[in-house]
Amino acid sequence: ETKASAGGGNTSETMLANFFNSLLSKKSGGV
């Protein structure tokens, strides 16, 4: 079974980008 072959690495990069972007906006929004 090749679970990892489907989807590729882009999904996790998108998630990471989402995560860091959210942290950055949280950081700049609040004190």
């Binding site: 998630m15 990471l16 989402n18 860091f20 959210s22 942290l23 949280k26 950081k27």
Partner: protein, 82 residues
Amino acid sequence: PSSSEMQRLMNEKAHELFQVCDTEKKGFITKRDMQRLQSELPLSPEQLEHVFDSLDVDGNGFLSLEEFTDGFGGFLGLRSTS
């Protein structure tokens, strides 16, 4: 700016963001810390878990500042010199 300057700025920013996650100032981030962020970030618990696993390259269940900074650098398109 020079690449070492970029590196320094990135490390500073990564440290700030690390502290947002490490609310108890333990010096590392656990999955529990990530789950706590769920209410504040637009990511599902599964996504946060996935993010954690991606960043936790040694898979020990603790995210060190170094691992976090490395992941942040990857996000910015920079690579920390190892």
